[in-house]
Point group: C2
Chain length 369, copies 2
């Protein structure tokens, strides 16, 4: 055994923890958002998302990989550019709230393309709510009429407050018209946003909430082909931010709403499967948001046109959000290192991690017995 | 604020940590293997893998999702049955060892299909080496001649010792004939296994090592179409366990070796892309291992037939390995809980996690400003 110790490097841990991924817990994410302020976080994420959408061709994109069951779905959403890779794990289980769990839970990983080393393992439940709201507001900045001030918010669940505040801060919305089939959800939203400065109008139906709105945001959670918004509710110039229709069999807009509108999407191959346009023919015309942001294709064509952002959530947004959170966490000194990767002096000697220098002979004998 | 506190449940954390995933670090995995013994772990994993292969039709299977770069690959490997879901993150970067990092690093997750809740976040670098070796030995138990005692081991890198010990314990191999283009790798293997009871014969070439072997195991790491084993080396009745040819552009066997042999694979659609049979026509005949294990298709047809297990590593093996590690860690009290999922009394009130009961008004004002 002494011969081995001299002949070969010790397999014991000496590599610095900086080569291990940073771990950002749900608690750390809350601390991060509290310390930076929600407005700063949403603005920062929107900037990151915009910057990454502008370099759209740089990314190796794929539709998410979904595993469906009777009660929900579990998905992986990977993406990479030449230097960084990310994926998100996310579920959707509408019945979860009945047993005290969130409908949507998520976490994600950043990794280094040059080595494959994971650099960040982070909660993404709170972060997804922030990035979804930031993406919605970013799209509306480029698609809604600039003077939009009144937003209908249909579905007042877990994501609704984030949508409200993103539109307040990035788009200038000052009035919310609220509806949810569960009045307690609206009560919760009103309580949470009572100090926001937003004017909150509780409505008795979707039709009432939509009336007079410049922007209509739908964030409902039922896993069903629902028609939350129908053609008779539409008014000229409206922008519809359809967030809740985001997997096969889950839609929010009636087909004629889509027919009457100019429809914008994130990543066409994914949205045709998951978005509200899953109801439409495969050649139904859509415009990808990144082209509007880059100025290569027009957004809204007139003040009276109805625009729809058929948002399903794309991996690029998580990539941007993870990079924002990673950078912010490092600046604030939040999070801790996970010993997720074996640390070896000789990386070809994985087996050596099972042997300790002091007990090497005994362990080797025991391990091999 | 008092009104809110009374009207709505507090958003503060009270949910028990048992609903958070168990985290098993690389250090914990080493402790687990040391405490149970490597033989016990490999046998336990082989049993789990066999049991899951036997219920093959129960699984929702897909080929892995790979992101390739100039220097390596990053992959996600998801799978699920009706109750459990798993995925593995794994890279392959042959140049990593030059900067002190392993070529292959991995971690994985188990989740509950009914709720989407992750139940385990675990290292999978060490665990993958164990499960790959267990799968190889399981295949050989069913494909090699039963009286096989001598194994050539070509490639003496990070996975080689695990292969050696799995074949010793599960297949009855007592002699290893070793070759690696890097003599230091062989020196390391000989040192690591000097107390194993295996007879170790260092050879000067692949051809020399293969001579007289009952089983030939190839675990080389070059990302290239190599021909480690050529037809002239083959002897009647050999079983070839080809482990290192596992991604597009990475093979180990000459095409005529495959033509002379009966070839067995894990999951055909994946192996046609990643395995040694990527060199062959799309209709090249293969047999899936699960059918041999279930007895629905024959394995080896005669004592003189040459058999090849063209192994690329399938998500089902990680699923089984993660379940073995999870169960063992819970029994041994290893690992800790990660606060990866926000804990909320009211799961519809994600925004409430940003507000503390004592500072709710101030925080709400600050967050919304």
């Amino acid at each position: 055994m002494n011969r081995l110790s001299k002949a070969l490097p010790s397999p014991l841990t000496t590599t610095p923890l900086a080569t291990q991924p940073l771990y950002l817990s749900a608690t750390d994410a809350v601390t991060l958002v509290r310390r930076l302020g929600l407005k700063h976080c949403i603005e920062g994420m929107a900037q990151h998302i915009r910057a990454d959408f502008l370099r759209w061709p740089d990314f190796d994109k794929s539709a998410r990989v979904a595993h469906h069951s009777q009660v929900g779905v579990i998905e992986l959403m990977p993406i990479s550019d030449d230097t960084a890779y990310s994926f998100k794990y996310v579920n959707g289980h509408p019945q979860n709230t009945a047993i005290g769990l969130p409908t949507v839970m998520a976490f994600g990983v950043l990794a280094d393309v040059a080595t494959g080393l994971p650099t960040l393992v982070s909660e993404l439940t709170l972060t997804t709510a922030l990035r979804t709201a930031a993406t919605s507001a970013l799209a509306a900045q480029n698609l809604a009429r600039p003077n939009s001030r009144v937003m209908a918010l249909i579905g007042n669940g877990a994501q609704s407050e984030f949508q409200a505040l993103a539109f307040q801060h990035l788009q200038g919305i000052n009035t919310l018209r609220l509806f949810d089939i569960d009045p307690l959800a609206t009560t919760k939203l009103v309580a949470n946003l009572s100090h926001s400065g937003l004017k909150l109008q509780v409505c008795a139906s979707t039709a009432e909430a939509v009336q007079g709105a410049d922007i209509v945001t739908t964030v409902t959670a039922d896993k069903a082909c629902a028609t939350i918004v129908t053609a008779d509710m539409l008014e000229p110039g409206m922008h519809i931010n359809a967030v809740g229709g985001d997997c096969p069999g889950k839609t929010e807009l009636a087909a004629d709403v889509l027919e009457m509108s100019k429809v914008f999407v994130e990543f066409t191959p994914q949205t045709r499967i998951e978005g509200d346009i899953q109801q439409m023919p495969a050649d139904f015309a859509v415009t990808e948001l990144w082209e509007v942001l880059r100025g290569t294709r027009p957004g809204r064509d007139s003040d009276t046109q109805i625009t729809v952002f058929d948002s399903v959530g794309f991996a690029l947004e998580d990539f941007a959000a993870l990079r924002f959170m990673h950078s912010a966490a490092l600046k604030l000194g939040l999070g801790e290192r996970l010993a997720l990767i074996p640390q070896m002096v000789d990386p070809k000697n994985l087996f050596g991690t099972l042997l300790t220098s002091s007990r090497c002979t005994a362990a080797s004998a025991q391990l091999s017995e």
